[in-house]
Symmetry: C2
Subunit: 331 residues, 2 copies
């Protein structure tokens, strides 16, 4: 009988619960829509029910429960503060509300930090056997998680890793966070779509028809770029520039062995990586001192920038959160 | 008899050695010119001789020896890599060369990291009783040191805290490091003087005379600004803007309780702080969520930006380096 822990990913659209072994094997999972319109307590009831349902089916020992949530999330308390992607959740104590429903201890973390933690133990950090990494997740926004010597660096109030809101372009595009020129305004899937509209790009429709007016997505734009569309190529070049500037700040500040780029938009790696690497080389002498001769060969003492290995690092990281901290398993 | 450790500050101009108690009291010190033209081995001989001279005079127990050096310095090895302020030292292993001369173990660290460590234990970190801080030192360049949970964060190869070379202004002023728009090009004493020349500022000379052609210094420019000179005021406003942008990146990434601004140019705090704070408020929602209602009142859970307390944090931090890590003494 395999012992297991529960990982939960509370998203603005979907609520996902999985039973995961300490080695990262998924034993069972449930996915539900997040019923935001029914209010936070209905969502918490759904979550608790799904967790119990999965626990009851597992014969092995439950090792703990970890929940990843969008922020701002005050840690270690577990209180949400006006989360833009969880309308109605302001002031909710996610941890204690869930502990009350389950009558068990619950660990809570930032979704982006847990994605980094998942990649650390089971993905790119595992492959490269590093003790620290930073991960940028390119999705609706740009999340950032930091793992230092095997532990999530959450900061004083749980707000570490808000580098998606680092002002890479002073006086740049206004961001809903109140600042201008945040990384998120150039490198998120949302910003890729916004830029495509600005440049007048339409989705590739071989046979235009009435129902071809599908929404333009970041992956459709990536497809256009791959087919050689110059405006689409320009968009991903801009993504690479923004990531390169942000990484220059982060590499210079932290000097970690590994920086991982994940999230849906990271699938466009071949489109943005060239400009990302050239901008990083120009902008960071720390990177130039330690960059790999061949980006495909991993050597200790070298600064690596690599795409994420896992498609679902967040829920795996959530499941690992309640387990004792450990070094990543050797590759 | 007081036990003591030795702190050394190896600067491009002066070489300073002090005997310091674990509580930060200075028992003795020696200051010598750094004889760069005589070569690194002559400088190391001078250093070893000064250290022995101080040790021999102390009746108490020697607890260890710590040396702060400009970078790039590869850690934990202790090897210098083309340090711009220590001509001729490229490839020198500072640690083993000194250990060989003294026949004792030597701890080596970055000057900016040791300044942060000194402030952490004996300065602003002590006053505020925080467990982590970041310090920017405004001098010839802009140094940066990071202390996380009581320990210096030196990064994979000792290059953490190179935020003086964070590219805050993309396509900004070219920096000798090879990047453009580095913080150092806007907020160092050197950049303050450069800007004054660009703006045609002359030093304040109440009675112009033949020998009044003294070099324009950052502190003379600060004096002009304090007297209301508009160009000088503009320079420090630009310093504040640059520091605010850099802090926005650092606060968003790390979420620490305290960021300290030190170094000679930090004496101009009243001149640059207004723009620094307004830029940081605009650029970092993490700061806005946690900023103090009154910057002069320290409260736990609040993000503080404060001037350094010590005039000589670097040499004190070097002396503390060989001692066991500890929490800052309660204020």
């Amino acid at each position: 009988m395999q012992s297991f822990s529960i990982g939960v990913d509370l998203g603005g659209t979907n609520l996902r619960v999985a039973a995961v072994t300490p080695e990262g094997e998924r034993l069972d999972h449930i996915s539900l829509p997040t019923r935001l319109t029914a209010g936070p307590h209905a969502v918490l009831d759904d979550m608790a029910q799904a967790i119990r349902q999965i626990i009851d089916k597992q014969p092995g020992k439950l090792l703990g429960i970890g929940v990843g949530s969008p922020g701002p999330l005050e840690l270690p308390l577990g209180v949400l503060h006006r989360p833009p992607n969880l309308t109605g959740f302001d002031g909710l104590n996610l941890r204690t509300e869930l502990e009350r429903r389950l009558d068990r201890p619950v660990h809570v973390g930032h979704d982006a930090a847990l994605a980094a933690y998942g990649e650390f133990h089971l993905g790119a950090g595992h492959t490269h056997a590093v003790d620290s990494l930073l991960m940028l997740t390119l999705g609706t926004g740009v999340g950032c998680g930091i793992v230092l010597e095997g532990r999530i660096w959450q900061g004083m109030q749980g707000s570490a890793g808000e580098s998606g809101h680092g002002p890479i372009i002073p006086d740049g595009i206004p961001c809903p966070c109140g600042a201008r020129g945040c990384l998120e305004m150039y490198a998120s899937a949302t910003s890729i779509v916004r830029r495509a509209h600005e440049l007048g790009l339409a989705p590739a429709t071989p046979e235009p028809s009435a129902d071809s007016a599908q929404p333009l997505t970041a992956s459709a734009i990536a497809q256009l770029a791959t087919n050689g569309d110059e405006r689409a190529l320009k968009i991903f070049d801009e993504v690479g520039y923004a990531l390169g500037l942000s990484l220059a700040h982060l590499v210079n500040a932290l000097d970690l062995p590994l920086y991982v780029i994940g999230g849906g938009a990271a699938a466009a790696w071949p489109l943005f990586a060239p400009r990302m690497f050239s901008t990083l080389r120009e902008g960071s002498y720390v990177y130039r001192m330690s960059m790999p001769r061949d980006p495909n060969i991993f050597e200790p003492g070298i600064t690596h920038i690599a795409p994420a290995k896992l498609s679902d690092a967040g829920i795996l990281g959530a499941a690992l959160l309640p387990l004792p901290a450990r070094s990543p398993a050797p590759a």
